[in-house]
Amino acid sequence: MDYSQFGSMIPELIVLGIFMLVFLFDTFSNEKGKKILTPLTTILFALGTVAIWIVPASGEMVFGGMYINDTATNALKAILNVGVFIVFLQSSKWVESDEVAIRKGEFYELILVTLFGMYLMVSARHFLLFIIGLESASLPLAALVAFNKKHYESHEAAIKYIMTAVFSSAVLLAGLSFVYAFSGGSLYFDDIAITIGQGGMSGLLIIALAFVLAGIGFKLSLVPFHLWTADVYQGAPTAITSYLSVISKGAAAFAFFVIFVQCFGAVYSDAWEWMLYGVIILTITVGNLFAVRQKNMKRFMAFSSVSQAGYIMLGAMAADGLGLAGMMFYIFVYVVSNLGAFAVISTIEENTGKLDMDDYNGLHKTNPWLSFAMTLAMFSLAGIPPFAGFFSKILIFTSVTGSGSWALYMLVLIALINTIISLYYYLLVVKAMWISSEEPKIGSFSSACSNRVALWLCIAGIVFFGLVPYIYQYCYDAVRDSLAFLLIF
């Protein structure tokens, strides 16, 4: 075996390296040394993130075609890393709390392991590697969801998560076994693409597609595979919820695109275009309909993220280079906006323990900066110009309507109508904070420095990256330059 092939896996090696360092430090350092674990991890991770942004991707297929890290996957990993960095910042006060402090090493290790798994999901070009990535991203997450050992909700959430995750893996594997049968014994994406191109449609393929869609749809919480989302998001510690809602979703969305466009691209208009069409409409609409009624902030964000996943999948609907670039940009904007909201929620939870929307009434009187940040995040999620969310929606909509078919225009129209509904519940939060005349229930407090940095990063992302086209250009160039997507551009 040619070990130089590992040289292509720079992002994975970086994350693995950080993991090893954190693990060894956590295991062998004394009580005093553990105090610097949080800043150490955060700084190491920041350096790693910068390295992934800078180091160019090799773009070579390695390990016999099982793995590739080209510009597009590298760009996505960089975007995910930014998100994880913000999660680390916003959770750095929480991990020092009495209940968690003793296990904080585990928190970082588990997150890094799942991140490694997600990298594999994104870069895999063979279903076996993909499943390994998926599982190593799934199982540690259950442990993370149960991180609040003494909280009954946390346990319930973890059980619900692991059960549905196992079930969805089973369905996914069943689907893949059909694919395996279909392709005549190969699990390479390239081989499957060729055999499907030759074989055409069949009932078996439809079942296989539906099961794969369901399996990955579980990670993305697409409707009707989303039911675990609200309970898990609500029960999990807030830091984990924010991690679950953006990072794991971003990785799954990219993997979905790769699998469906590269593997099953030949039957796009015959089969899965319409499956996805229906699922997207359901996802956006049902997510919105549930979000309208929520009172708990984390549950509210859960349904908001269900609905947002539907918008992300519009990029897969476009199934071309512009769609992928739009999807990656949407993921980036979603990362900063959603994490901005979660940063506010977790700051308030840490300081006051309050999580209901009613508790936010009149927040601007006591915590104007937090209200401001939350307002920006809500505006961006709702897609109000001139914030980043508006541009990401515009770009992903235009990529979908690129082919000019009326059905896709209808899809965008439905998505637009849903944007109006989403405006209602996003503005409910803004209304509670700024307009409600009730006496504020949350007293004035000053948030931790790390939380502030996280918030400022999110605000900068929301405000600047809509107006400054740098990130979109970065995604666009990355997709254009990546060899794997050369054919679809």
């Binding site: 369905v171 039911l227 309909l289 309208v292």
Partner: protein, 647 residues
């Protein structure tokens, strides 16, 4: 010329606006006032230096072979939309912009100084000075604009600062509605201005004044003889541009905002609504003069509008009680005078005679002198109002003994506006009338009549305020002259109003830069002098001592008096059109559509969302068995539906 001074002229007022506007809350009134006055004083000195350099240095950039040149001190690209659609920001020096620099900074400085006394102790004193600085900045930017787009930007800025200053006493409902009225009416007129700019630049491919005015035939040719509704496109463009000027300069029928604008503080009326902003329309026509010259129809339009407005405003001024309203209508009338003067000035010879030099020069001359003596009159009126706390002459009378400085300076102003030798107004008015007579006897005769009316209503006010009968209230509350900050500007402007007529204006400002030698046209001068003296004598006979004659005259035709007093019902006509026709008929239909169609759709939308949301809540039961059930059912359903549809 070095660009430092021109930039400073614009930079100091805007900096002052920012400093006083942002930091003013923390300052004492005294500090804010001193800062404002010093800033404006410095600007005035710089403007004098620039204007002096332009007129007298003899630099080849400014004067070449005895002809004054247009010189762009700087002209930088600001917004480049396309190759041809480029907006520049620059500083243009030519005779009229140099003259306007002097006028604006002088009056503005006087008003800054005067306000220190007049506005003393008013809440929002700092805000007031900030707005004055903003206005000065906008007005200076307007006059030095190198292109019509820059002018438009500053034009709107001037409108905004005027709005802010009229509504300065924002707790008075009348001030608020007056400021709204002024803004809406002028903004409505500016719509025409903007369309005119777009039309003109669409054909000429340029916004630049120098490009357009040095080659008016090229402008005419560029439209290629295109016509719209019987008139050439260029005529439409120039008339629409003039519409903007009509709004700002309060020409009929867009004059209705100016009398109401008197709700603002009196020094503001002196600065904005007498001397500077309201002449922006005249300045605009002067700026585009060579282009107007090639469009006969537009010139005639200007003449007719001006002549009607001048007469109308003069008649209305005879029947007003509020002294600021009298001055406001007098301003409208005098600006219309300038408009007619520009309108009769043609570039091309008619029946072998060139008319261009005189009318243009006289109009600009009158703009200059009028700014001085009208500001003087307004500031004098401010001193009167300050003393008796009322705007109406009915609360005044016999004030000459109590307020000698105000009395003398006010008299100077009245003599100047009536056109009595040797006061400033005599010279400029004489030139204007000469130009009008030279064009056609009708214009000359008509405007001489207006000049007579002017002398009459000004002295009617003068006598009623300073003579007539002493108001009994003086015994309780004795009126006295204003403090020095207010008297000083009165004395200065009074002195200027006496000597300004002797400035060799024709040597400095003419339409083509060549000097024009002013000579008094004896017949015209004599006629106008006789008319003015007769009018003053009539006013003296009626109003010097308390008598029953005015009431008798009024009762001869009470309907006419009431009509004039109510400004010939223009406001009522506007109210009828906006309320009865636009609001009641057109807007109600739109409102109904909005309520019952658009809102109802949105309501239904919201209701359906809520209902569905409630109906499907069972899906989220919290039971993991049912979750998995939904999951597998979903996966199978996706497969089944696709299968059914495709195979």
């Amino acid at each position: 010329m070095d660009i430092t001074l021109p930039i400073l002229i614009l930079a100091i007022p805007i900096t002052m606006f920012l400093v006083l506007g942002i930091g003013g809350v923390k300052m004492s009134h005294k500090l804010a006032g001193i800062l404002g006055i010093l800033g404006m004083g410095t600007t005035a000195v710089l403007a004098y230096i620039v204007a002096f350099t332009y007129f007298f240095s003899g630099d080849a950039n400014f004067i070449l072979d005895g002809v004054r040149q247009q010189y762009q001190v700087f002209d930088v690209t600001w917004l480049a939309f396309t190759q041809t659609l480029v907006v520049n920001i620059g500083f243009l020096l030519d005779p009229i912009s140099a003259m306007m620099l002097v006028v604006i900074t002088t009056i503005s400085f006087m008003v800054h100084l005067y306000s220190w006394g007049y506005m003393e102790g008013e809440p929002g004193f700092q805000r007031y000075y900030a707005f004055l600085s903003l206005f000065s900045f906008s007005m200076l930017g307007l006059v030095v604009a190198t292109n019509i787009f820059q002018m438009y930007i500053f034009w709107e800025l001037v409108g905004v600062s005027s709005y802010l200053l009229i509504g300065f006493f924002y707790k008075l409902p009348s001030a608020v509605s007056a400021s709204k009225k002024a803004f809406i009416v002028t903004r409505f007129a500016d719509l025409g201005f903007l369309i005119g700019i777009l039309l003109l630049s669409f054909y000429t491919d340029t916004f630049n004044f120098v490009d357009m005015t040095t080659n008016p035939e090229g402008v005419l040719a560029s439209t290629g003889g295109a016509t719209f509704m019987g008139a050439s496109v260029l005529t439409w463009a120039m008339v629409l541009i003039f519409t903007g000027g009509m709004g700002k300069s309060a020409m009929m029928p867009l004059h209705i905002w100016l009398p109401d604008a008197m709700e603002g503080p009196t020094p503001v009326s002196a600065l904005i609504h007498a001397a500077t902003m309201v002449v922006a329309g005249v300045y605009l026509v002067a700026r585009m003069f060579p282009v107007y010259c090639v469009v006969d129809a537009a010139m005639t339009f200007i003449c007719v509008i001006g002549a009607i407005t001048a007469f109308y405003a003069a008649v209305v001024a005879c029947a007003q009680i509020d002294i600021k309203r009298i001055l406001a209508f007098s301003t409208i009338s005098q600006i219309a005078f300038m408009m007619v003067s520009l309108g009769v000035a043609y570039d091309k010879p008619i029946e072998g005679v060139h008319y261009s030099g005189l009318g243009y020069m006289a109009g600009m001359f009158h703009l200059f002198t009028h700014a001085m003596f009208k500001a003087l009159l307004f500031l004098g009126a401010g001193a009167l109002i300050h003393a008796v706390h009322s705007n109406n002459y009915t609360s005044m009378g016999g004030l000459r003994k109590y307020m000698p400085i105000t009395h003398v300076t006010f008299l100077i102003g009245c003599l100047a506006i009536a056109g009595i030798w040797p006061f400033a107004g005599f010279f400029s008015k004489d030139e204007m009338l000469a130009a009008m007579f030279a064009r056609h006897w009708f214009w000359g005769a008509w405007m001489t009549m207006v000049a007579g009316l002017t002398a009459f209503y000004m002295f009617r006010m003068y006598f009623l305020v300073f003579w007539w009968e002493e108001n009994p209230h003086y015994k309780e509350h004795k009126p006295h002259d204003a403090p020095w900050q207010m008297s000083l500007p009165l004395i200065f402007l009074g002195a200027v109003s006496i000597v300004a007529g002797f400035i060799p204006f024709g040597e400095l400002v003419t339409w083509n830069g060549e000097p024009y030698h002013i000579h008094i046209e004896a017949p015209v001068a004599a006629t106008s002098l006789v008319v003015a003296v007769c009018a003053i004598a009539l006013a003296a006979a009626m109003y010097m001592k308390k008598n029953a004659l005015p009431t008798k005259v009024k009762n001869m035709c009470p309907a006419l008096w009431t009509a004039a007093h109510r400004r010939f019902y223009w406001d009522e006509i506007y109210m009828f059109i906006t309320h009865r026709i636009i609001f009641d008929i057109i807007c109600k239909g739109i409102a109904w559509f909005d309520r019952h169609i658009i809102d109802a759709t949105m309501d239904a939308f919201a209701k359906i969302t809520q209902k569905t949301s409630y109906a499907i809540r069972g899906m989220q039961s919290g039971e993991i068995q049912s979750y998995v059930g939904w999951y597998i059912a979903g996966a199978v359903a996706v497969a089944a539906i696709t299968w059914l549809c495709l195979i």
